[in-house]
Symmetry: C2
Subunit: 443 residues, 2 copies
């Protein structure tokens, strides 16, 4: 039978997977440092539910059993295509057992039957955080999301992230102030700015939406406002449009930016062209790119929403959250060679095997090291020590251990310096940075 | 829309998921201490391939795209039902880039469309290790598997595991020595011992397989041999059956038992009724149960095989491996209340919020603690401190931090003792056992 890779289903070699593991460990660690608790949802949801959640533009993978018996009710399950939709169902199902505000993180694979292309897979990891309130949720959490993203991306040895934020109330309020009717249509056209440029968008606004040149100019001018401080407020005011919702949006944006003033300069910028998920978000929206990797598109995005789930629950569940495209980030990092692990194996020490007869001695040494947290293997076959050292070098193992015979002390060889020292398995420690593989930038 | 749980797709509350995470962390840590490297395979395999790998008795979930276009070649994908079959495909696909012996661990969910029952799910976690050689693989690795399982189960705060081993050559050789023709059939009948007892098995051996009372008695006598030391050899010899393959099997079993002699007494026992996966394993076989949880069935199992993958590769890939049923173990532990986390949240410190105006001060303290590895949240709203302390207690957060005003020092309150001390966010450390949630037995 012929073995061929499946397009869109990335699989990594062990040393690449180690990079992914170390990256996921760091993301998890940062989420937990901010007090987010973890959940995992099942991979499947009722198809009817997936379709009710705006899945029209996603290609859902539907499950069927090979030997299905009709009465077993398996019909109508699909693989989840994101982590927000299962999260909404999870909260609706378990709300009475959760405490609010509920801060959860979720790192799982999702599946989409889309055409694979750069940065787009059919199976990929997402890492989501959301903060959900019951009835209400303080605006301070919108700044929390910026802080977490800043910390997560800052913990990765990658180029810095540019995080842009906007507020849907600013766009909606501005358009209301201009007296526009088809505000969603205008938003969708403005959303094409990156693709087709301001001249083409301006033409569409005039020809398709019937806007006057002046109004189209104001819509375009708004979308082109960007600032790393509070200067955006004056820039919007200068356009001379007024509406209470615009005021509300500007005040929210100001508060979020002010709350993040202690982060590194440029860590977050207001960019009024950002819209994200047109019919879901109602306040702050987020979009992050890696500096120099703009062609990859957003590596994280999200926003504030009025109600997590319209699932018949009694109370509104307002929330704010973002999703990090782990596979998109990792795929690009691996393709560029931007990330690597300090070594390809967890093993710290290879215990040289002198002879099969003495193997029990070597196994005891290995277990003594493991009991003290030092990852350890006993060599496979009693070939000559030079060959065993070669194998350790080839596999990136930093130390080789030699068990002393006839009362002689054990010795440990540091393969980076070729120095060899007497050592005791009950007390020896490797250099701290070699205890675990480290995530490093390739450079 | 009505939200109902899906039978067979377990989902855990955050505090239960934390137990699962801590359990998986420990399993992963032990695997790595023994030098196993991690891989993850995609969730899907070609249906044709799954079916060629003995999937007849498993219910495979087949994928279909909702809006499939016929020319896109999506037909014929199924979700994997174990981790061995994808591993074999992975090794065949990437063999030239792997180094052998290849020691890999793999912890992923698998899917089976079976009828859910106690200990059986439709979606569940397995944790697999395998050691694969190219051409040959030393017998010492069969003992490695015992050591890893012993270490993994010993690292969990659960009742001790009883690990039983056998060797397929012992059974096959003994039956050959008896001159049996339908050795697989006899094996399958003997495999029912636990279910129907020796009398019924004896009757089946005589009536269905046409064995004489004497031969049936010998088959049964072999299956009832169990020993925690090397006594099984004499017990088998006493049955008076001879065959070279029997000798080979007994010698292999002896060697594995001898190599594990340093483990705690009873950690591993020879049990000649263990057969496992009838047509796949060719040497050592393993089966582990948790003491007192025998009704749950095996929580880990596996064995030695001649060739990982009959996939057209040039060289034989002999291996030995086991699979740990993580969800089965966790499901029972949670149902019994046998495992818990020391607290339900990663958060170590809740920073009390005095007023929205002073929030920036509190955020700076929180980030200073996080930068030093202390998980930290700033409280949501500036309600009175007594209420904030109550919330911390309710959520299981061990410390509350109060930021001093007007030059007064900060103070930290230990909620377990209600003692409050001056503290500096640049140097304060929580009690070591409170830095992370711990996995504990409930008792």
């Amino acid at each position: 039978m012929k073995i061929t890779p499946l397009s869109g289903f990335p699989e990594w070699l062990p040393e690449q997977r180690l990079v992914e593991q170390l990256l996921l460990d760091r993301v998890r660690r940062q989420f937990e440092l901010f007090g987010f608790v973890n959940i995992e949802t099942r991979a499947v949801e009722p198809l009817e539910y997936l379709l009710s959640k705006g899945a029209t533009d996603k290609e859902i993978y539907v499950l069927q059993r090979l030997h299905a018996q009709e009465d077993e009710g398996h019909a109508g399950l699909g693989l989840h295509f994101d982590l927000t939709v299962p999260f909404a169902r999870y909260v609706a199902e378990h709300a009475s057992k959760l405490s609010f505000p509920f801060k959860r993180y979720q790192i799982q694979k999702v599946w989409r039957g889309e055409r694979p292309q750069k940065g787009r897979y059919r199976e990929f990891y997402q890492a989501d955080i959301d903060i959900i309130g019951q009835g209400e949720l303080a605006l301070s959490h919108d700044a929390d999301i910026v802080r977490v993203l800043h910390a997560v991306m800052g913990s990765l040895p990658l180029p810095p992230m540019s995080l842009s934020i906007n507020n849907r109330k600013v766009l909606e309020g501005f358009y209301l102030g201009l007296g526009l009717d088809d505000r969603m249509g205008v938003l969708r056209t403005v959303d094409k700015l990156d693709k087709i440029g301001p001249a083409a968008v301006g033409e569409l606004l005039r020809k398709e939406h019937g806007l006057s040149a002046e109004v189209a100019g104001q819509v375009l001018a708004l979308a082109q406002i960007r600032s790393e401080d509070l200067g955006f407020i004056e820039a919007v005011r200068a356009l001379g449009v007024a509406h209470p919702l615009l005021d509300e949006g500007l005040e929210e944006l100001r508060a979020v930016m002010a709350a993040c003033a202690d982060l590194r300069p440029g860590a977050v910028a207001v960019d009024l062209r950002i819209a994200r998920g047109l019919d879901y978000y109602t306040g702050t929206v987020y979009e992050g790119t890696v500096a120099g990797w703009e062609k990859l598109g957003a590596v994280c995005s999200g926003g504030r929403y009025e109600n997590l789930a319209a699932m018949g629950g009694k109370r509104k569940l307002p929330g704010v959250g973002v999703s990090i495209g782990i596979s998109r980030l990792l795929g690009e990092a691996l393709a560029q060679g931007a990330l690597r692990a300090s070594r390809p194996t967890p093993t710290v020490v290879l215990v040289a095997l002198e002879s099969e007869a003495r193997r029990p001695v070597m196994e005891r040494v290995a277990q003594a090291l493991r009991d003290r947290g030092v990852a350890c293997e006993v060599f496979d076959r009693p070939i000559r020590f030079g060959k065993q050292i070669e194998q350790a070098l080839k596999r990136g193992i930093p130390y080789v251990w030699f068990c002393g015979a006839d009362g002689a002390p054990d010795e440990v060889r540091d393969l980076s310096s070729s120095s060899q020292q007497p050592a005791d398995a009950q007390s020896w420690q490797p250099a701290a940075e070699r205890l675990h593989p480290q995530l490093l930038s390739q450079g």
